[in-house]
């Protein structure tokens, strides 16, 4: 096991001006489950591949266990990777696939087969040892890929969107399995996903990337409660945070004509700002900002009310969370009231968080 450090690590693909990964500084502690999350093109997969040695690092350094591996080939980094499409060898059996790293390490056949059987048992795949990947389902293939990664007990696990090819139900199951496996093995894990649900449920910490730059790194709760900028605020959380351009005067904003006091954190703030409100920070009540319900999505106990309202003279879409049994009907006129203690403020120009 080992810790992982990116030090100003940069990757610039030839023919482009903008780095895919721009001066990334990130530290993953020994045994930690770190999730890299971001939209397409954010550089998360490139950052993972730089750690694996599959992409050259153009500037900066990558360290594993305190050892500079920037210029080392992948096989000398002591890392194992699970690919998005599993990258199983289609002509080898499950047993041979799992044991492949041991074969490359020169381990004798009997020992390889013993260890492969043990790993397969751990993953519940012992019945499929003689099958080829084409005879397995997506979830089973994913387990074989996991088995191949864990058999040689690497210092670091790398996972590149390993659940993205599975259906929703299986994804939830495999998510729990991966979390349990990582907890049991205690191996440092770097996990890439664009799915924030995966990021929030799996990661000890989550690093949010956008356009190759690290936006924020922290525990899932911290990212949700205290997004460092407008991008993280909009990216983390589903449905996304409501972001409204408003004017702040003496610690209060006008929210569609309603004056909202924002407390001591921004008591002296003034000028154009962006008000961020999670759906649960908006209450559907009898007074407040008038809005018209467009869509209601019910999720068992809760419902999300998608509505439109006039804010600063512009039609703005807002989403509020309410109890499903008390949710308004589509087309109904409602009033939205802000919970000031749950409001976030961001600078209108830089997008950075204002206040604590």
């Amino acid at each position: 096991m080992a810790d992982v450090r990116y030090e100003q690590a940069t990757k610039l693909y030839s023919g482009t001006d903008v780095p895919a990964v721009d001066a990334l500084d990130l530290e993953v502690e020994d045994g930690e489950f770190m999730v890299l999350v971001g939209p397409s093109g954010s550089g998360k997969t490139t950052a993972l591949r730089m750690l694996a040695g599959l992409e050259e690092v153009d500037a900066g350094a990558v360290l594993i266990g305190g050892r500079d591996v920037t210029d080392l080939p992948p096989k000398k980094r002591d890392v194992a990777m699970v690919f998005q499409n599993y990258a199983l060898y289609p002509y080898l059996t499950v047993s041979q696939n799992i044991a492949f790293p041991l074969k490359m390490a020169g381990v004798k056949k009997a020992e390889r087969e013993r260890q492969a059987a043990e790993v397969a048992r751990r993953l519940g795949m012992e019945r499929y040892l003689g099958r080829k990947p084409s005879q397995l389902s997506g979830g089973e293939r994913q387990r074989v890929a996991m088995g191949r990664a864990i058999i040689r007990q690497p210092s670091v696990f790398l996972m590149d969107e390993p659940l993205s090819n599975l259906d929703a139900k299986l994804r939830v199951q495999m998510r729990a399995d991966i979390a349990a496996l990582q907890r049991d093995l205690g191996v440092t894990t770097v996990y890439v996903t664009h799915d924030q649900a995966e990021a929030m449920t799996l990661g000890h910490r989550v690093a949010v990337l956008d356009h190759g730059r690290l936006q924020q790194v922290g525990e899932p709760r911290e990212l949700y409660d205290r997004p460092t900028n407008r991008f993280v605020a909009g990216f983390i959380g589903s449905p996304a945070m409501n972001l409204c351009d408003v004017t702040c005067e003496h610690g209060a904003v006008s929210f569609g004509g309603e004056r909202v006091e924002l407390g001591p954190a921004v008591a002296n703030g003034s000028g154009a700002v962006v008000l961020g409100l999670r759906p649960e920070a908006l209450e559907v009540g009898l007074e407040g900002l008038p809005a018209r319900v467009e869509v209601v999505e019910e999720f068992g106990a809760d419902a999300f009310v998608f509505s439109s309202a006039q804010i600063g003279g512009e039609e703005t879409r807002l989403v509020a969370r309410t109890e499903a049994r008390r949710a308004p009907a589509q087309g109904e006129r409602i009033f939205l009231r802000v919970k000031p203690e749950e409001a976030h403020l961001f600078d209108a120009e830089t997008g950075q968080r204002l206040g604590a």
């Binding site: 992948p74 690919f83 990258a87």
Partner: protein, 337 residues
């Protein structure tokens, strides 16, 4: 109310069920579809019948006759085959030469084609130019390419021996030496390996990149990746190349015919391709198809030549079958998508 007797019931006219009424219509539609399919296939059916089926049947028939192209074929039973297996003094020389050529040329063709394809797949600059350079020889007409090789390998004036002479090496007699004539033809074959190379190149480029990356992370070096990723992935193409080139080897004619004739002509100062020259020097280039040609078109023993061609067809089929059956152990066939 009285029940109608059963016999009467049968006499009542019952309207046909809709399913029964539709049947003639369905049959007509099926026949129309079949007719359209046959119509669309007709060019191929005519071509196959005229240019493959009829000659094949005629060859089999003629193989049991004496036929000199001038008089009508005369039925002689299995006499041609008995002569072929027991009495023809040249046939085993031709078989040995052909098998030698296949045993040496086919592995070399596959190796060179695969090697060049690997290099081209890895090349980063000038890929287009190199692909063209390596493929161009395949476009050269076989006769012209052979003439060029006979000139290049001319023992006295050819550039290869001149160069070897400068290096202090006595060059061989190439097409004039029974020990070097077949290797020279193999060199000519390997030089024109472009077609096989293109197929290998497409296969190598088609190997998923993530398999290489995965193997690299699993600790595989360059040769391990070649052994455990590239070769299994392209094994169907290797099988195709082996079968295709073996069949080509069994039918090897033009280059051997031209090289022997021209080399013999050089030796006698008269570029005259005659029966005497076939297999020059000392029957070392007398391949099975060359002997077949000699019997058919020089000696006008068309019945016997037909027997030889029928045997060639059977042997080609048998060898292909053996290779394909054997390949199940080493060829990976992807599941149909």
């Amino acid at each position: 109310m009285r029940l109608r007797p059963a016999a009467d019931a049968g006499a009542v006219s019952v309207p046909a069920s809709p399913a029964l009424a539709r049947r003639p219509g369905k049959r007509r539609a099926a026949w129309r579809r079949r007719r359209l399919v046959l119509l669309l296939m007709s060019p191929w059916i005519v071509g196959f019948t005229v240019f493959f089926g009829y000659p094949l049947v005629m060859s089999v028939y003629l193989s049991f006759t004496h036929y000199d192209l001038l008089s009508s074929p005369r039925w002689i039973g299995t006499a041609n085959y008995r002569y072929l297996f027991h009495d023809d003094p040249q046939v085993w020389t031709a078989v040995k030469n052909t098998l030698w050529y296949i045993a040496v040329a086919v592995p070399l063709q596959v190796l060179f084609a695969f090697g060049i394809a690997l290099m081209l797949a890895r090349a980063r600059r000038g890929v287009g130019i190199f692909r063209t350079i390596f493929y161009l020889p395949a476009l050269a007409p076989p006769v012209a390419a052979t003439l060029g090789f006979v000139y290049i390998l001319n023992p006295a004036t050819g550039p290869v021996n001149v160069l070897l002479g400068h290096l202090g090496v006595q060059g061989p007699l190439w097409f004039h030496d029974p020990h070097w004539s077949k290797p020279a033809l193999v060199a000519l074959t390997v030089w024109g390996v472009g077609n096989t190379m293109v197929i290998f190149l497409a296969a190598v480029l088609d190997v998923p990149r993530h398999l290489y990356e995965s193997a690299e992370l699993d600790g595989a070096g360059v040769f391990s990746r070649l052994r455990w990723v590239t070769l299994p992935s392209i094994s169907p193409v290797i099988l195709f190349a082996v079968v295709f080139n073996v069949i080509q080897g069994l039918q090897y004619f033009t280059q051997a015919y031209v090289a022997a004739g021209v080399a013999a002509g050089q030796a006698s100062q008269a570029a005259d391709v005659t029966a005497v020259n076939l297999g020059y020097p000392q029957d070392s280039t007398l391949f099975y198809p060359v002997l077949l040609y000699q019997h058919g078109f020089t000696d006008f023993q068309m019945g016997y030549a037909s027997a030889m061609s029928v045997l060639l067809l059977v042997v080609s089929f048998a060898i292909t079958l053996v290779i394909v059956l054997n390949s199940r152990r080493w060829v990976y066939q992807a599941a149909p998508r």
